[in-house]
Symmetry: C2
Subunit: 407 residues, 2 copies
């Protein structure tokens, strides 16, 4: 399966992927997904946001007898210059798990669904998990339609260009009502499994995280004629803030990153009159993250700058019962258990996922992480060894078999 | 005259000007210049780069008897969010000086020219004084044509869009051969005249200055999942470099500015894999500037970064004989001399000008600076009081009368 999608959106020079929502790359990946599902005789349906759901068994028939489906999958879009595994590993593993169940003649009692969520990274329109946020009602359709990409194209225009009706998007309780449990398999985005020497972990929670806009004022002036003492250089304020953010994260044991800045006026010979910087902060402990951000805010405000919270998401806990059941299933089958007395590892993550959005919508949700030997993600260096990918598929197969039950 | 050009390219909110070369704003300003010249019966000609030259008297007839013209003027383009005076003050004052000479019935022995140089700021294509650099052969036509703006438009495409033939640009000895002396009047871009309490100064030299591109490497990774200790964050390297540049300038008594940065990949949740920053450094003393840049380069290279010199211009000295003559003329007329025993002030400048390009091309060149009460330039706060503007026009009128001679 990997071969067909390997070249889509790939930069031949860097090997990085650029697969933004509602672009031609995204379209090609959606067509590929539809063809793979058709080849397996799965019934493909789209919800009101265009997320693709492929069913083995009839979820609506199951609903009539009070039963719900077991869904797995992930997303196919990427960040700019992203890696090959973040997203696609979960989709490919889902299809491979279906194949594995079929090969052993498994007949699921509950329907099994495979989902491809659209626009998980939010790389184009700035809102991550837009696909799952819209159908769960967390992202209002009006706001989604009005989001713009770097070229000024709105999501409404992008949907129309992709042959879709932007007015049709919105919450979709029907699609959500078919999900009894959701399990997302994902490449790990850190070094947790590398350090533990294990191929697969069960997810516990998504760390609290937020974004803040820092506005740092200066005074426009000519770089060649203004004495150092007469300057109010917003770039200096930015430099000090970047270092203050790192120090605050260190101090409080969490993560802080400034990955995006906008400099006004941005000329080589112009003293910056304004810098806008975005702070991303996360950590296992909510209070620690809050303390680090408060330190950065105090620094910014002491220099006459302003801080605005653009988003804040508290800790998202995955379903504990489901996680325990996954862990028991995997321990039983011997998968992913390197013989450690503690059994299958449990890991939290600092990254957001559609699984987190569904968990917050009240759907029993779990995650499986596959070891990433580089620990690097959102980069061409993101990686998973074949044996670990196979361990991931085996784990997902066992979990689906357990949750769907055999007829 | 000011009224007609006051709204062109002006942002109603900030009052800042955006008048980039070969845009519709530039076109409107060129049309305005042509109309003002036509209203005065001046003969307008363009050189091979599209700089506009308006002549009172026939420079080619003068050339036949071994004489050359006296030229004044400046430019009408601006930096992003620029002020109203940088450039336009020199053009408007030139036309006002012609009016003043006419009103008193002056008949010039040598022809007087008024010039509007195109693309002085280099705000669009990154090379300052592109208009004068091309006609003096300092900027090769092939290189000029290939320069790109932020939208990826080449100068060749921009010229074509403006109805021009990009293949026709190049050195223009004929246009340069008409200039016996060039005097550029400009709003001061620092606080020299404010500190001296004088309205007008004669320029001595343009400080040595240069631009360096600093490439700071990092490693792309996910902002939410990568431990602080595992990061190679190019934004941290950038922050340290900004502070190092400021410290080096302080230490060596010169100016250093980082006004433009590009961050890769530039996502809020992505650890920067690369930052490119541009260093602008200048000062009265060439060796001091070199020492400051060497300190910054050592800092960058110690962190695995690279430094490339994009431009370097040594000290440009204006014609000393011409400067002395201007000073004597002004002292004689009592203009701009606040009664100081030292007479008319002489000032160097850290800003580049077309006058510097012509001086380096061997043309006797001088500058007049008009007091800027804010000391601020390249910003809407750039200013000149009406009385000081009139003092500038009076000074320029006296200088033109002296240099052109009366018939």
């Amino acid at each position: 399966m990997w071969e067909a999608i390997e070249p889509v959106g790939r930069d031949a020079g860097t090997g990085g992927y650029r697969r933004f929502a509602w672009t031609s790359q995204d379209h090609d990946l959606r067509e590929w997904f539809a063809a793979e599902c058709a080849a397996r005789g799965l019934d493909l349906a789209e919800d009101r946001m265009g997320n693709q759901w492929a069913w083995w068994g009839d979820p609506d028939a199951a609903a009539r007898i009070g039963d719900k489906g077991v869904v797995t999958g992930s997303h196919l879009d990427s960040v700019p210059a992203g890696g090959a595994f973040d997203g696609p590993l979960g989709v490919v593993s889902a299809l491979a798990a279906v194949d594995a169940l079929r090969e052993r003649g498994f007949q699921p009692r509950r329907p099994i669904g495979v989902v491809n969520f659209v626009d998980e990274e939010g790389a184009r329109f700035g809102v991550a998990c837009a696909g799952s946020r819209v159908i769960t009602g967390v992202l209002a359709p009006e706001r989604a339609r009005g989001l713009t990409d770097a070229a000024g194209t709105t999501m409404a225009e992008a949907l129309r260009a992709a042959g879709r009706d932007p007015e049709a998007i919105g919450p979709d309780d029907e699609a959500l009502g078919r999900i009894g449990a959701f399990v997302e398999l994902h490449v790990e985005q850190g070094r947790g499994l590398v350090d533990l020497g294990q191929p697969v972990a069960v997810g516990t929670d998504i760390w609290p995280h937020g974004r803040w806009r820092l506005d740092l004022p200066g005074e426009a002036n000519h770089a060649g004629t203004t004495r150092l003492g007469d300057r109010r250089d917003a770039m200096l304020a930015c430099a000090e803030t970047v270092l203050a953010a790192r120090a605050a994260a260190d101090r409080h044991g969490c993560l802080a990153t400034i990955g995006k800045v906008q400099v006004q006026p941005g000329g080589v010979n112009a003293i910056p009159s304004h810098v806008t910087a975005w702070l991303d902060a996360r950590g296992a402990d909510e209070a620690a993250v809050r303390r680090a951000v408060a330190d950065v805010a105090a620094h910014v405000e002491s220099g006459g700058g302003e801080v605005a919270e653009e988003s804040w998401t508290p800790t998202t806990r995955f379903d504990a019962t489901l996680a325990t059941r996954l862990r028991a299933t995997l321990a039983e089958g011997g998968q992913a258990d390197g013989g450690q007395p503690d059994g299958i590892p449990m890991l939290g993550t600092g990254a957001g996922h559609d699984a987190g959005i569904l968990a917050n919508a009240g759907i029993p949700t779990a995650m499986l992480f596959v070891r990433n030997p580089t620990g690097i993600s959102h980069s061409p260096a993101e990686w998973a060894e074949e044996n670990d990918c196979l361990a991931g598929v085996a784990a997902l197969t066992a979990v689906l078999a357990d949750l769907a039950g055999e007829d």
